[in-house]
């Protein structure tokens, strides 16, 4: 008799334990996912190749990105909060000559390679800024 009750108790305890663990796991998972996957904070640099997104990078992280496509090579550098085209093997070199960008909606386009480098403000840091540029 006593054994049955102890077994029932321990099983109940085990279930409680499982429940607590499950809730904890869900809480941690949701925090991590919301923080890092759904909402990346800070300005982003989005590189698109022929209309499709090639990659997204944080503006605050210094990095060099080599893009090799069927049309050619481009080297994009993110350094000290600005982005610029360090090198490209396109004939007109307009993208390389372009000054560095860091503001939302600013972009550097390599027309021959159909490559676009754009600074995008994430939902977290959207301000009453500029929506477009007439140029």
């Amino acid at each position: 008799m006593k054994n049955d009750r102890t077994q029932a108790d321990s099983r109940r305890l085990k279930n409680d334990f499982i429940l607590i663990i499950a809730i904890a796991v869900i809480a941690v998972l949701s925090f991590l996912i919301l923080r890092f996957w759904v909402q990346k904070e800070g300005d982003k640099v989005v590189i698109t190749l022929d209309g499709t997104v090639y990659g997204e990078y944080l503006l605050r992280e210094n990095q060099t990105i080599h893009i090799e496509s069927s049309t050619g090579l481009n080297t994009v550098v993110i350094k000290d909060g600005v982005v610029f085209m360090q090198e490209a093997d396109c004939p007109d070199q307009i993208c390389v000559k372009h000054s560095s960008i860091h503001r939302t909606k600013e972009s550097i386009v390599c027309l021959p390679h159909r490559l676009v480098v754009e600074v995008v403000r994430t939902a977290a840091s959207k301000k009453q800024g500029i929506d477009g540029v007439a140029e």
Partner: protein, 343 residues
């Protein structure tokens, strides 16, 4: 007792998982409330920004309409109606080009020739038609200018057939993007889009206001530096078009030659203006006038505006780094530079 408890554990677990899932989805959708898609067309990069959930579809429709028009008026596509007319001296104008020809002539008369689609052979001579840049000889330009005259075009309004005099060539490049912006806006509005911003390589057309009720804020590029703006216009349901020598030019022997050719002289316009921005509900007009007013210079531009002040507003930026703004947009244009308001 344990069985009931286990069921409850599962119920709570499933409930939490569902709530968590819903939160993720809501958060995800909230971030997609405004989205932008870009594509390459008309030899430039274009973007469509739509508020609401129709963004991707809108960009698709926009791209299709832009490509449709490009196929008709591109001088770079060998078999386009415009290329055919330029090559053979004669040809049929489909509906959109018939409209563009009529509008071009209107603007030609309005600006007393400062806007002229027959300037194309001269532009080609300078290399702005896609060939390599060069400074044409004065005699060459003089000869070519003989063919620059919209009044010399013969158009059969019934058959929609255009006939060019020998040596003449046309190019709708000066109003193409403005018209295309209006066409794309039409297509999107037909599909129920109430709030969008179309940017055709710098040619901006806005539909409605943003979803938060505020006007679209469009910055005007400064000719002085890629990192500066002349100011910001708050707008809704208009086209904003900027023209300036800084957009396309080449340098030879220390002299800068830009792409806005004066149809009177055959040389790049030297009127004292660095940038002209036109704001109008009529995108075709805005595009054509931005070029024409750059050629005309400040005084004639202001004179023209006084005559047609209900059709457009302007922002002129002079070589002296002064901004002249028409009174109609005084309230909606902000700038850090000193602004002279023209009544």
């Amino acid at each position: 007792m344990e069985i009931i408890k286990q069921k409850r554990v599962w119920q709570v677990f499933v409930l939490l998982a569902t709530v968590f899932g819903i939160c993720i989805v809501i958060k995800g959708r909230a971030d997609i409330s405004s989205s932008r898609k870009g594509f390459f067309a008309m030899d430039t990069y274009m973007t469509v920004t739509v508020e609401g959930s129709k963004a991707s579809k809108a960009a698709e429709l926009a791209e299709r309409e832009v490509n449709r028009l490009d196929e008709e008026l591109s001088t770079g596509i060998e078999d386009s109606p415009v290329s055919t007319i330029n090559r053979t001296g004669e040809g049929y104008l489909p509906e959109d080009l018939d409209y563009l020809l009529k509008r071009s002539y209107e603007i030609y008369q309005m600006t007393e020739g400062a806007f002229d689609i027959t300037i194309y052979p001269v532009m080609k001579a300078w290399g702005f038609g896609g060939d390599s840049f060069c400074v044409p000889k004065a005699e060459t330009l003089k000869e070519l200018l003989n063919h620059v005259n919209m009044d010399g075009l013969q158009y059969d309004q019934q058959l929609h057939v255009l006939h060019l005099e020998s040596g003449a060539m046309i190019d709708f490049g000066g109003i193409a993007k403005g018209y295309t912006g209006d066409r794309v806006a039409s297509v999107l509005q037909e599909r129920g889009v109430k709030s969008a911003m179309i940017n055709l390589g710098g040619n901006v057309r806005v539909i409605g206001r943003k979803s938060d009720g505020n006007d679209w804020r469009i910055a005007i590029q400064s000719p002085d530096s890629a990192e500066q703006y002349l100011g910001v216009v708050s707008a809704h349901d208009v086209s904003i078009v900027t023209s300036g020598g800084y957009q396309r030019y080449f340098e030879k022997d220390g002299i800068v030659y830009h792409h806005i050719i004066d149809p009177d002289t055959g040389y790049p316009a030297n009127s004292g203006l660095l940038s002209v921005t036109i704001i109008s509900e009529d995108g075709t007009l805005a595009d054509g006038l931005s070029t024409a007013l750059f050629v005309m210079g400040k005084d004639d531009a202001i004179k023209l505006w006084k005559e047609y002040s209900d059709m457009f507003e302007f922002i002129l930026y002079t070589e002296k780094r002064e901004l002249y703004v028409s009174s109609g947009i005084y309230d909606t244009f902000t700038s850090e530079l000193p602004v002279y308001i023209v009544e």
